[in-house]
């Protein structure tokens, strides 16, 4: 039996076809509010149940409870605000209003029954959620771009399949759950990634696969910052490695349409809870998960899980050390399993790999499978042109 969704049941507030058309007709005479890229990702994930038990953007009670207690006002553990900000130029709204939600191009993506309009303390939000108010943190920059007025309320989201990227890999939580059951999996481990797959990731994933029934490869394809490897390149890497290096029936790949918040430890918990909704019993937490720059300690994203009861969290964090190829061991290892000095370890920083690729040098096979290296090199060349 799969783990239950967070809060007991999957919310389902996503509509398509004639039901979506009805929503579009309903909001034609309503006030329209503008979604930014992150909010659009959040709207999709509230709608499809990935953010269960959320049924909409947070009201003040939930927002403050999340910041102060790391819980929703109704009780379940929750680590990051999921909020909708009023944009400059958007009309003012009040509780009780029914509003349409559109993107910057004017396409309707859903609606909201406004329950709350409140002023947020964005400095407090940055301190608690991100652990910093430093302007160079992308999450702080994001918060500073907002008005500070949040609008909360239940939403309905519209699914427009024709506009989605990675259409063959779009599985909602209820779909991954059905898939796991059909494959006879009772336990599944999720691997979150916003990087291309190297041998170290492969090793960690396969270690985790030894103790569960299946692996959900869940690359993040929502909004990320400049400099991250584009999602289509990462997806091509995964498609390639799945062909020859993983048992087909024990792995499923699907995209995770969340926006990165770069909130480090709090985002690791957030990612874990969302994967529980996808039916995963385990979640891989690497070093500096969801981190950026030097804002978080190497193990902060792992240690944060120690403060929760397993029953509260409902998904098991699998904490992994950084892995490498050890020429003396003759295989992949981590500091936990290898007795040899660094001189035997093949490890390359992301910066070094990017420099090698730009110079037309393939990273060694101990670091990256040759098939993956070729894809990355091709992408680096295209970027240069």
């Amino acid at each position: 039996m799969l783990v239950p969704p967070h809060g007991g049941r999957l919310t389902d507030r996503q509509y398509e076809g004639s039901e979506a058309e009805d929503i579009i007709k309903e909001v034609q005479n309503c006030t329209l509010l503008t979604l930014n890229a992150r909010e659009k990702n959040d709207l999709e994930m509230i709608g499809n149940g990935a953010m269960s038990p959320l049924e909409g953007f947070m009201s003040r009670y939930d927002y403050e409870s999340v910041l102060d207690l790391m819980r929703l006002a109704t009780g379940p553990l929750w680590s990051l605000p999921v909020v909708f900000a009023r944009k400059d130029g958007d009309p003012e709204v009040a509780p009780g209003d029914h509003v349409g939600l559109k993107d910057e191009e004017g396409t309707i993506w859903g609606d909201m029954q406004v329950e709350d309009v409140f002023k947020a303390d964005l400095t407090k939000e940055a301190e608690i959620s991100l652990g910093t108010t430093d302007d160079s943190h992308p999450g702080v920059m994001y918060l500073k771009s907002l008005s500070g007025i949040y609008i909360g309320g239940k939403i309905r989201s519209i699914r427009r399949r024709e506009t989605e990227s990675f259409q063959n890999y779009r599985l909602d939580p209820k779909e991954t759950r059905v898939l796991f059951r059909a494959r006879g999996w009772n336990t599944a481990v999720a691997f979150q990634t916003r990087n291309p797959i190297h041998r170290a990731h492969e090793y960690i994933q396969k270690c985790a696969m030894e103790i569960v029934d299946g692996l959900l490869l869940h690359p993040l394809v929502g909004e990320t910052q400049q400099g991250d490897i584009p999602a289509d390149v990462r997806m091509r890497c995964y498609e390639e490695i799945l062909k020859d290096y993983y048992p087909r029936t024990r792995v499923a790949m699907s995209v995770f349409p969340a926006a990165m918040r770069y909130a480090g430890p709090k985002e690791a918990v957030f990612h874990a809870i969302l994967r529980k909704n996808y039916g995963c019993s385990h979640f891989i937490v690497g070093r500096d998960h969801a981190g950026v720059g030097n804002f978080y300690g190497t193990y902060d994203a792992q240690m944060i899980f120690d403060q929760f009861d397993q029953e509260d969290l409902g998904i098991v964090p699998l904490k992994f050390e950084h892995a490498f190829y050890c020429s003396k061991c003759g295989g992949m290892a981590t500091p936990k399993t290898c007795a040899h000095d660094n001189e035997y370890h093949v490890f390359l920083s992301g910066k070094k790999v990017r420099a090698m690729l730009k110079d037309g040098i393939l990273p060694p096979p101990e670091f990256t499978r040759p098939e993956i290296a070729s894809i990355l090199m091709e992408a680096a060349r295209k970027e240069d042109n």
């Binding site: 049941r9 038990p53 063959n168 779909e175 059909a182």
Partner: protein, 138 residues
């Protein structure tokens, strides 16, 4: 699971069908339910809004049972460490959204079990077809 008394505030003489509907809904999820009808209350020699009735409900609930009853006045018992008292108007329970919201709040508070399935069985069939089409399943 913490005990729960659901006290439905009703008009005098209203039928108590709603108690049974709610009781069945929670029972189907695997909850231990006792529906405390007016008839049973009368048979026990209590008034409909009697303090003794409230105490009897609280005693049952303190053993982890979900007790559903009704009354035209508020109960004379309060929530404690062992049990929760939730009061709702009968008219609210008749509206689908309010009914679902009430049950959802009880679920989130851990007072009633969640539904037994995460995906409705009818929808599961459609999803299996989609998964086959996408090549996830043979």
């Amino acid at each position: 699971m913490k005990g729960l008394v659901i006290w439905i505030r009703t008009e005098e003489g209203s039928n108590e069908e709603i108690l049974d509907i709610l009781g069945t809904e929670i029972e189907e999820r695997g909850g231990r339910v006792e529906v405390f009808h007016s008839k049973a209350v009368e048979n026990l020699g209590m008034d409909k809004n009697d303090k003794a009735k409230a105490i009897a409900c609280a005693m049952l609930a303190s053993h982890g049972v979900v007790v559903i009853t009704s009354g035209s006045e508020d109960p004379s018992i309060k929530s404690s460490e062992k049990l929760e008292i939730r009061i709702i108007e009968e008219s609210d329970l008749c509206h689908t959204d309010a009914h679902d919201g009430f049950i959802r709040d009880l679920e989130l508070a851990g007072l009633v079990p969640p539904p037994k399935y995460d995906v409705h069985p009818d929808e599961e069939k459609e999803i299996l077809k989609k998964l086959q089409d996408l090549g996830y399943l043979d």
